[in-house]
């Protein structure tokens, strides 16, 4: 197993008296695509800037490619950054923009020319753009020039600071696909900062969810989605059901008890228990798409409820239900049909499997 290319240990960051990062520990493998996700103010951008060298940190260690980066300026790190506002040099042509890092590194002209053209091809940019200025290109084209400039010197780490957040939906979707393709081709390690968890799930090998300067969870997209260790993480993407539940332990393992839910054997499968549980008061999480309404076969657990509202969302129909014994409403997503099969006020039976639940700390 090779050493991680980014190795952060117990890193703290203060801005004057305000602590922006608490005890951050993170390691990124060579060639990995990792996303830093969280709401505004969670510290993800600070962390990115620290990796790039634009901000210093107060305690802990940061190693890139195995070397300690304390006191190393951005120009000497193996990182390249794509800025949120792109930061393309307005007074230089597209060619000069992309060639800039190579020119600084004093590469011979022939090599610069070759590599710039390679980048053009990689980014699907037209050759006649070379002599144009950034202002003359469209938003998507400018994005690709910015990416080209960052990748032209084949850095081992690419840092992306919410590069897609200002774009409209269509452009965003196409560039998201571009990023994923780039990552597969180029093989550079990507660190991508975004506030959009859906984007992170689409692109990243692993996701690091942050809030208020802390890392809440690091894991593969599936883990984050189906096994969130923290209620915030659970609620950060899509909709989910979080029901208070009480745990008791016996020779079978962990038993859960939630009013309104009837199970044959309410034993939590071991992988569905959060590792950070510290009390018997817990939350039971189940994703809306994993609950069936009036299914033909019964599953491990059942609830009885009444539909209070439904929303047609295109590919799915979402129902809100009131379940006897439960204070919260239940949300269920079912695949869409031409006609809404269930109406408001109807009583239904809800089923779900034990393997689809997750118990996390409150």
């Amino acid at each position: 197993m090779t050493a991680p290319i980014i190795d952060v240990k117990s890193l703290d960051k203060f801005y004057q008296s305000y602590q922006a990062l608490y005890n951050i520990t993170l390691s990124v493998e060579v060639g990995e695509f990792i996303a830093l996700v969280g709401p505004s103010g969670c510290g993800k951008t600070s962390l990115l800037k620290i990796l790039a060298g634009f901000e210093d940190f107060n305690s802990g260690t940061l190693k890139l490619e195995g070397k300690d980066m304390r006191e190393v300026p951005p120009s000497e790190r193996p990182t390249r950054m794509v800025f949120q506002k792109l930061a393309l040099f307005p007074h230089k042509t597209v060619f000069d923009n992309i060639a800039f890092p190579l020119k600084i590194a004093k590469r011979p002209k022939i090599e610069i020319d070759k590599k710039v053209r390679q980048m053009l091809e990689l980014m699907h940019l037209k050759e006649e753009y070379l002599n144009r200025y950034p202002a003359q290109l469209s938003g998507g084209e400018q994005q690709r020039v910015a990416l080209a400039r960052s990748l032209v010197s084949s850095p081992s780490i690419l840092l992306l600071d919410e590069p897609l957040s200002a774009l409209d939906v269509k452009l965003k979707k196409s560039l998201q696909a571009e990023l994923k393709r780039l990552h597969r081709i180029v093989g550079t390690s990507f660190v991508h900062v975004t506030h959009d968890l859906e984007e992170a799930m689409m692109l990243a090998d692993r996701i690091c969810v942050m809030k208020d300067g802390h890392i809440l969870q690091i894991g593969a997209p599936n883990d984050i989605y189906y096994r969130p260790e923290h209620p915030f993480v659970a609620g950060f993407i899509g909709e989910t059901n979080l029901l208070p539940t009480k745990l008791t332990y016996d020779e079978n393992g962990a038993n859960f008890a939630t009013p309104g839910i009837n199970c044959n054997a309410p034993i939590v499968p071991a992988p569905q228990l959060a590792t950070s549980l510290d009390s018997n008061q817990a939350l039971l999480m189940i994703r809306p798409e994993l609950i069936s309404i009036n299914a033909n076969t019964t599953k491990d657990c059942q609830m009885k409820g009444e539909v209070t509202e439904f929303f047609v969302k295109g590919a799915t129909i979402q129902y809100r239900l009131r379940v006897l014994g439960l204070e919260n409403e239940i949300t269920v997503d079912t695949p869409s049909t031409a006609e809404v099969p269930i109406s408001v006020g109807q009583a239904v039976r809800l089923d779900f499997d034990l393997n689809d639940i997750f118990i996390l700390g409150a």
Partner: protein
């Protein structure tokens, strides 16, 4: 890595050093004057002999001084009011409207700034002399007022125009939407927000007029103003009276500039938006 360190140190040295040198440079004559105003002796030699305030007294005793001071003050007040009003109006015309020949208007109102002051004074002097011969009047405070207004209004204009540039006119829309009449919108929204610019422009205009030499010298004729007082005085031989005078003129200027800065900062704080993202 050590090159980076070296470079940072060198850059800081150059940058901070140049600021310090520039500030020192700017204040050498001012500090010299202030220091000399307290000398005991009649002669302006260094090192300063003794410490005395007698030259301030001698200054006020000079029979031409108070009339000249009063003349300059009158001049400055009138010019300030006129320049600020005209500059404000012109700034609005510059920034909020579009009209035919706007470029010409802008060029014309901006042009006096670019005239070397002496040239402006000469040109206006010629004109006033001819007018004077024709209509039978001579140069007085009013010719100086006009000269100052022509020269200083562009400055006031620019300061206010900058303030207008960042003006968010949706605030006016909101006010009108809440039922305000045009006059009320002006009074309650527009002017309060533009006030820092207008106030700074006024202070700037006052100081420019107060400290102006070339134009006043050319255009005030026989009326008494500080520049003529100083120029004729120095021509007759230097004496510590003039450093004392200088110090006296610096004090109100310094106070006014400090005041303007205080107001500007207070207004800027009020307009600051919410927390910034990390």
């Amino acid at each position: 890595m050590s090159y980076y360190r070296f470079e940072t140190r060198l850059a800081n040295f150059i940058l901070y050093g140049s600021v310090i040198i520039t500030l020192v440079f700017f204040y050498i004559p001012i500090a010299t004057l202030v220091a000399f105003s307290f000398t005991e002796s009649r002669f302006l030699t260094f090192p300063i002999e003794g410490f005395s305030l007698k030259w301030y007294g001698a200054l006020f005793a000079e029979k031409n001084f108070l009339p000249a001071l009063w003349g300059s003050l009158k001049l400055a007040f009138i010019v300030t009011i006129l320049s600020t009003i005209l500059g404000c109006a012109a700034a609005v015309a510059w920034m909020r409207f579009k009209f035919r020949f706007q470029r010409t208007f802008q060029a014309l109102t901006f042009a006096p700034l670019l005239f070397p002051q002496l040239m402006l004074g000469v040109v206006m002097l010629l004109w006033f002399s001819i007018l004077g011969n024709f209509f039978g009047f001579s140069m007085s405070l009013w010719s100086a007022v006009l000269g100052h207004v022509v020269y200083i209004t562009p400055f006031a204009l620019i300061i206010i125009a900058v303030q207008i540039h960042g003006f968010d006119d949706t605030l006016e829309d909101a006010a009108r939407d809440s039922g305000c009449s045009n006059w009320e919108v002006l009074r309650e929204i527009t002017i309060p927000i533009l006030w820092p610019g207008i106030f700074s422009a006024g202070i700037f205009a006052f100081l420019l007029s107060w400290g102006n030499f070339y134009l006043t010298y050319s255009l005030s004729g026989t009326s008494r103003t500080l520049p003529t007082f100083v120029f004729s005085g120095i021509a007759n031989g230097s004496s510590p009276i003039f450093p004392a005078l200088a110090t006296l003129t610096f004090i109100p200027a310094m106070l006014l500039v400090g005041l303007a800065d205080f107001f500007r900062r207070r207004a800027a704080d009020r307009l600051k938006s919410g927390p910034t993202d990390i």
